[in-house]
Amino acid sequence: MTELLGIYNYWIYIILMMIGFYGVIAKKNLVKQAIALGLFQTGIFLFYISMAVVDDGTAPIWTTVGDGAMKALGPYDNPLPHVLILTAIVVSVSVLAVALAIIINIQWAYGTVEYDEITELEREEGDADA
């Protein structure tokens, strides 16, 4: 039991990701789908951050000790995943921005952002393979 609770951040990551995934699949409103997509990706960020943790780790700061050599203050978390996730956050923001830009255009072109209504409009235009 303690083993399962001890890694609770991984549980949160999985739950967040699955909520997002559910939203992407089940929501009929395009804006809600875009938000769910953002949630899905945020879950992954948490996973990367959790992965970096080292027992009793601190910030990765190196400093000069008495004889001039560089030395870490103590055991430190792996900084690499943090840096990677900074990049991934930028990517995720861009995805959301492009998604919202397309949704705005859909609103202008169709007058709605509900998936069902759009499908209905497209069927009336004679979309054979819908």
């Binding site: 899905f40 990049t87 497209e122 393979d129």
Partner: protein, 502 residues
Amino acid sequence: MLDIQANLPVLIVLTPLLGGIIATFTGRGVLPWLWSSIVTGATFALTIQMMMTLLGSGEPFISYELGNWPKWWGIEYRVDLLNAFILLVVAGIGFITTVYARLSVQDEIPNDRHNVFYAVWILAITGLLGITITGDAFNVYVLLEISSLTVYALIAMGKDRDRRALTASLRYLILGSVGASFILLGIGYLMMVTGTLNMEDMHSQLLRMPDLDTNRTVLVAFAFLVVGLSLKMALYPLHMWLPKAYTYAPSAVSALLAATATKVGVYMAFRFLFGIFGVGFSFYAMPSHFVLLGMASLGIIFSSLTAIRQTNAKSLLAYSSVGQIGYIVAGFSLANANGVAGSIVHIFNHAVTKGGMFMALGAIAYRVGGTDMKHLRGLGKRMPLTAGALALGGLGLIGFPLTAGFISKWYLVSGALDAGMWQLAVVVLIGSLFALVYVWKIIEALFFGEPTGRTAEATEAPLSMLIPIWVLIGLSIYFGVDTSFTADVATRAASSLLGGLP
């Protein structure tokens, strides 16, 4: 002074990256097109130089460390025969479609958006080239998103012709982002077990694991990566985004996408399955033979069947693309020399054939205003050169002897028989028969119908479109007759992949 030869790998990505940003400021008129032709042409020249350098050096690969950071800290660009070949295909098709795009884009995109269109267009090519050249797993994800985001925008720019381009683009965005996120997760799990992001390091770390075949983290990474990559390369049944995206995108964009985007997805699968996990794990410890071959066979049969039912020539070709991805995936999941070589050859052959065909459809859309079967009817009399290119490309899709498509199917069937999988040979045969039916549908409309409406007044496509179309169609015939270059590169690349070198 910058030493071009020594910095060749990074220049292949840097040239279009900067060129794309500068393209935003090129204003209106013909300048954005001219600038993009120069940039993509220069990139193509660099990839040719890269290929020659690699072949001339006799080394198995050329490694380049970005910013002189050692590769285990920084990013490594690593060019071997396989990705030098894919770089050549992507940059070459990128250049030819850019040259072709001028009139098509003038016709389909509002004038004040040309500079943005070409900027995004060049950045899409940058992303595809970057994925191909990098040797760093996380870098693959970042460049994948660069190419995907720009492609979503390119597809959405078809909205002025048909508003369904917007919904097609959004659908691709959502599925594509889920796929890319799965790839990101897979890379994360791999990093957890190996502690590195360099592909070659990852491979050697994985091989050193005594419990590789049962380690649950590795299994999870493998599952996420296979699903994510399948989404990106549109492997049946994860192809749902592809047909509409190709159908409603601007004509030039369809040609670029059909020829390069899914092919780079397949290349990523090569890198991850063969390069990082290794043949032993991917194809013998895991049930990949069964799953991937099954999906590919279903894809070949069902998407060819769906293609037959299409009334729009563009979506017919799009469904046919899903089927052709099936051939490529079937080839490499056989994991033997002939199968993998067939898969690599088919990446090239299908790229030139489909690129040429989509460009021919773009020329028809330019002259007639649409690509429905009713627009095509009787066009063989009005636009004989365009229609002829479309018909020859169609023969390539069937796999008719003396076309490039025949060569890849030959390798594929040999691979299937080597592996004792005669069932796959039957699937290839059935797929070719279905291809015959849907290609015949196009040929019948083109040459045996009576032109009506705008088709009756259509004239031959302008020369600036015909030349790029015939260059690609000509290549697909040339490499069906003289296979020495493609087959040689593919066989050598296949043996290095199967040898497990990343």
